[in-house]
Symmetry: C2
Subunit: 187 residues, 2 copies
DNA sequence: GTAAACATGTAACAAGTTACATGATTGC
DNA sequence: GCAATCATGTAACTTGTTACATGTTTAC
């Protein structure tokens, strides 16, 4: 208990560093865009976590001077760190501690004004649909560039698998929102 | 900012108290079973939250002596509290801060041993399928007891809407798990 | 006798968010 | 001149988890 790289965030970072050495800022960027879709973290969590990982011997860093810009700290995963992620990744995933504000609002929808509630769910549905469209665009790109999913290597498949989850999630969510809105509107 | 009943948990509790006055223990029970499916909270969060809500004038309590058992504190929602939930419920729901360990593991699946990863996703899929079956059983009960969803009153519909979300979520999740496992097994 | 349910709390800790803090460079 | 990007941190606060703490009654 309390070991470095014990937290999910720690493993997420180790996973990124298993592919390439990165500065804290680079980690931040990756945590924003692809990883952030399923595990969000801001730089104020990332920098301390990198320090913790280093204290635990999971990563090491070297300062890289840059012309003009401040020095970069480039983090590299250690053998221990690589072993730790490799073990962690196939361990049973804990089921997310289900917390969904919109479902709670649906459950309490009888307290609100029907029309207002319907509009809220319509709008929420539009947001999820928008995200779905972005994911689907990415999927089309992958299939175009990488070919058949069956032929993907392990790395590309891993990418694609996460995307498929995003697509399924957003599609289901958007549909549910539309259904709730429709019912609330009394059709 | 920092007003009582500001947190989602506070509103969840107010929502429960809008239907009936309850003791902290009763709130705990409801937070475990129906509400816990989409907003989990343990008693160590609930008791202090009730105190905060009371300090903010959202609820009041009276001690109810019981034969043998220790006194109950029965909480009742105030006019202010009711107004606050009613307003909150149709306000835009924040999108959950997407954190899903299993999707992260899928994204990092290239780091693990194929067979082990596949088994992990199989097992996870079984868990979600199990939950799905429970929800579907509940749905059958509702339809049997309450008739057509179109005829539900606002309260019953609210219940049903949350359940529909659970069903959609678990079904999609289970399907995705099976798909990931299958692909990892190399079929 | 013993475990589960009833009943209510606090303490210590971990995780996550928002704001504070600084400073250079690049593109408009 | 001004915003965005690069680059790294800390502080204050909120949320959530796990463990500690206590005591009765009821059903097996």
């Amino acid at each position: 208990m309390g070991r470095a790289g014990d937290s999910v965030l720690g493993f997420a970072i180790l996973g990124l560093l298993a592919e390439a050495s990165l500065s804290g800022y680079d980690v931040k960027l990756r945590m924003a865009e692809p990883v952030g879709f399923f595990w969000r973290a801001s730089h104020s969590q990332i920098y301390p976590e990198l320090a913790k990982l280093e204290a635990g011997g999971m990563v090491v860093h070297k300062a890289v001077p840059q012309s003009g810009k401040p020095d970069k700290k480039v983090y590299e995963i250690t053998a221990d760190g690589l072993l730790a992620v490799r073990e962690w990744v196939s361990l049973p995933a804990r089921l997310g501690p289900t917390r969904d504000e919109a479902t709670l609002k649906a459950y309490l929808s009888w307290l609100g004004e029907r029309g207002e509630m319907a509009e809220m769910f319509r709008e929420l549905g539009r947001k999820h649909e928008g995200q779905l469209e972005k994911y689907e665009e990415t999927e089309r790109w992958m299939l175009r560039e990488w070919g058949e999913p069956e032929e993907f290597g392990a790395r590309r498949f891993a990418n694609y698998a996460a995307l498929r989850r995003g697509i399924g999630f957003e599609r289901e969510y958007a549909e549910w929102c539309r259904w709730v809105a429709e019912k609330l509107e009394g059709r």
